[in-house]
């Protein structure tokens, strides 16, 4: 214990006695680690905004669409599709909507011609939809169980439609669906994962069935799965819904495209990583070189230490520890420099900083290993030095 402490002290004193040289041989690990941290950091940060959006959206939303057999119009799911999907163990929540293609919404009286050419989608939705989408209701409230039970003619606007419609917060307005006026009770926030919803009008399932006389069967399901089971859940949903029946069900994970786009440029990253490795290797040669010269320059010190009773192995460890310090400090400084570069460039380029902190220890260990390996030969040389030859006696 005390030996280790003494060794550390001696090695530290040896390094700090020649600060410039120590700094110079430290440049190898510094540049190597900094290059690797910066390479990965910059390529990841360039896609950082996408990654951040992904993290906010969650990558576990699945949209299931009724496909129908060939030729069938308005394909639908069974009425109890939500219950069937919810039975899949990895599903955490689900909500159904129904596209009411026969209903024409006329938000503004005078624009009926326009809205016939460019219809506003009308959807029947259940009370769970905002929570499954993880989208807030930005004005008023969402459709609730009371609306269903008391047959309230309530409607909620998508965020895009509300803007187009000029809806003001808390305003009492109605919207005409076919020949019936519905009261606008709220506005749903923008749905990044399914922008179609932004222009839609949402009404209760009771209204869909009884006001517009549809069968009320859903044709689109929004499902959240457990975080690591998204794809498996998406694959399981068609069978869960149609139980092997003839109706087609297609599922998609809307974040897949985003996720692909958020992948860093691997080729660039690997090239830079390789450059970092190269810097580390060249730095290692530099350490070996300078340490070898240092052993010759310090042969008198080695002789003295041997004379006062330090053994060969202590001398060897002393020099090995010096290169170990170079590796540890160089790796640490390199990591800091690399992180600094990522922050600097990201702030200039307006990127969201992404740093793979879990990978930094790996690179630092690599720098340490290279430094120690580089110090091995000089250390052995120092240990083998004959004190009599270095002390110039007589």
């Amino acid at each position: 214990m005390s030996t280790a402490r003494d060794l550390l002290g001696v090695a530290w004193a040896g390094l700090t006695a020649r600060r410039i040289r120590t700094l110079l041989i430290m440049l190898g690990p510094i540049v190597g680690v900094a290059a690797m941290v910066a390479a990965v950091g910059l390529t990841e940060s360039a896609k950082g905004d996408l990654k951040q959006r992904l993290a906010a959206l969650g990558t576990n939303l699945i949209i299931a669409q009724a496909g129908g057999t060939f030729g069938s119009q308005n394909p639908t799911f069974p009425a109890d599709a939500v219950r069937r999907v919810a039975a899949v163990p990895t599903v955490t929540s689900a909500s159904a909507t129904t596209n009411l293609s026969s209903v024409i919404a006329t938000p503004i009286e005078g624009g009926s011609d326009y809205y016939q050419s460019f219809p506003v989608p009308v959807r029947a939705a259940d009370p769970a939809l905002p929570s499954v989408l993880e989208v807030p209701v930005i004005d008023g409230r969402w459709l609730n169980a009371t609306d269903e039970q008391l047959h309230v003619p309530a409607a909620v606007l998508g965020a895009g439609l509300a803007k187009q419609y000029g809806y003001l917060d808390g305003e009492v307005r109605t919207i005409r669906l076919n020949d019936t006026d519905f009261g606008v009770v709220g506005v749903l926030g923008s749905v990044a994962l399914d922008p179609d919803l932004d222009n839609a009008v949402f009404i209760t399932q009771w209204s869909a069935k009884h006001v517009f006389d549809t069968d009320g069967k859903p044709n689109q399901l929004y499902v959240r799965s457990q975080p690591n089971a998204t794809q498996a859940t998406a694959d399981a949903i068609p069978t869960a819904i149609n139980l092997g029946g003839p109706d087609q069900v297609s599922t998609k994970v809307p974040t897949d495209v985003l996720q692909a786009a958020s992948q860093a440029d691997k080729t660039l990253q690997q090239t830079a990583l390789f450059a970092g490795l190269l810097a580390l290797a060249v730095g290692g040669l530099g350490i070996a070189n300078v340490m070898s010269i240092s052993v010759i320059q310090r042969s008198s010190e080695i002789g003295i230490r041997r004379a006062v009773g330090h053994s060969r192995s202590k001398i060897g460890f002393q020099f090995l520890l010096e290169s170990l310090f170079v590796g540890v400090l160089g790796g640490l400084l390199g990591a800091l420099v690399g992180i600094g570069i990522v922050y600097l460039v990201s702030s200039v380029a307006n990127w969201v900083v992404v740093i793979s902190y879990h990978r930094i220890p790996v690179w630092m260990t690599l720098a340490l290993a290279v430094s120690v390996a580089a110090g091995l030969y000089p250390s052995i040389k120092a240990a083998r030095l004959e004190p009599l030859e270095t002390l110039r006696l007589g």
């Binding site: 003494d6 040896g14 010190e301 230490r305 006062v308 053994s311 192995s313 006696l393 007589g394």
Partner: protein, 245 residues
């Protein structure tokens, strides 16, 4: 006077035993053409001895110093420190024995340039289970004893030759060695400093300690109470002064 061959490997000198003993020691350099630096030399250094080893250059003084200081091993023969045969010890044990029993003083001082005076003296106490605080205290006391208390934090380049040699002396004695081994300790000093250093050496004499000076300076040799003369790798005379005034 001979060391009991049955004696165990104890490093503590017992009264009457040799502190350090060379027995039929030869040191040969070169393989194809052997050159005898020392040939069949036997020598006993006793507790209380103040020995000077003299001789012209090439007489084997330096080789003798290396062997006495456990820095070198003989080609044949035995070297014993307080009864322990050092030729059979591994490097770590021999190094420890050297550190604990021998203090070196060199002509060129040989201080470590990047350490201050205190650090240089402390070097001799490293790796031996001495707490940093105690190590520091002992080193400081050794310096203070030699009048260098105020120079403790000066580096070798900031010290005069005489001061540097006294730091080296402090380093040699801080471990309280059985034997102080000096190689031309006044060779690089002016007369005044040389006198001062010689006085210190005389003061180091103690009943349980030996002081050995290797020199070709007759004045230095004369301060010793025992004079070993060498020529061509052999001891030609070993005289004790009858009285020292």
């Amino acid at each position: 006077m001979n060391t009991d061959p049955e004696a165990g490997p104890t490093w503590n000198a017992r009264s009457g035993d040799a502190l350090l003993e060379l027995e039929q020691v030869s040191r040969v350099y070169g393989d194809e053409v052997p050159v005898y630096a020392l040939r069949d030399v036997s020598l006993q250094i006793l507790p209380g001895d103040f020995v000077s080893i003299v001789g012209p250059s090439g007489s084997g003084k330096s080789t003798m110093l290396g062997l006495l200081g456990l820095l070198d091993l003989p080609t044949s023969g035995t070297v014993r420190v307080a009864g322990t045969d050092v030729t059979t010890l591994d490097d770590a044990t021999r190094s420890r024995l050297r550190g604990e029993s021998i203090g070196f003083v060199f002509q060129q001082f040989h201080l470590i340039p990047h350490l201050d005076a205190l650090g240089n003296v402390e070097t001799a106490l490293l790796y031996r289970d001495v707490k940093p605080r105690e190590r520091r205290d002992r080193a400081y006391r050794a310096l203070a004893d030699l009048g260098l208390a105020e120079r403790a934090h000066h580096r070798p380049v900031q010290l005069s030759g005489g001061e540097q040699q006294r730091v080296a002396l402090a380093r040699a004695i801080v471990t309280q060695p059985l034997m102080v081994l000096a190689d031309e300790p006044t060779g690089a000093l002016d007369t005044a400093n040389a006198e001062h250093v010689l006085e210190v050496f005389q003061g180091l004499q103690a009943p349980d300690r030996a002081v050995v000076l290797v020199t070709h300076d007759t004045h230095v040799a004369d301060t010793a109470t025992r004079k070993v003369s060498m020529r061509d790798g052999q001891i030609v005379s070993d005289e004790r002064a009858v009285t020292q005034t």
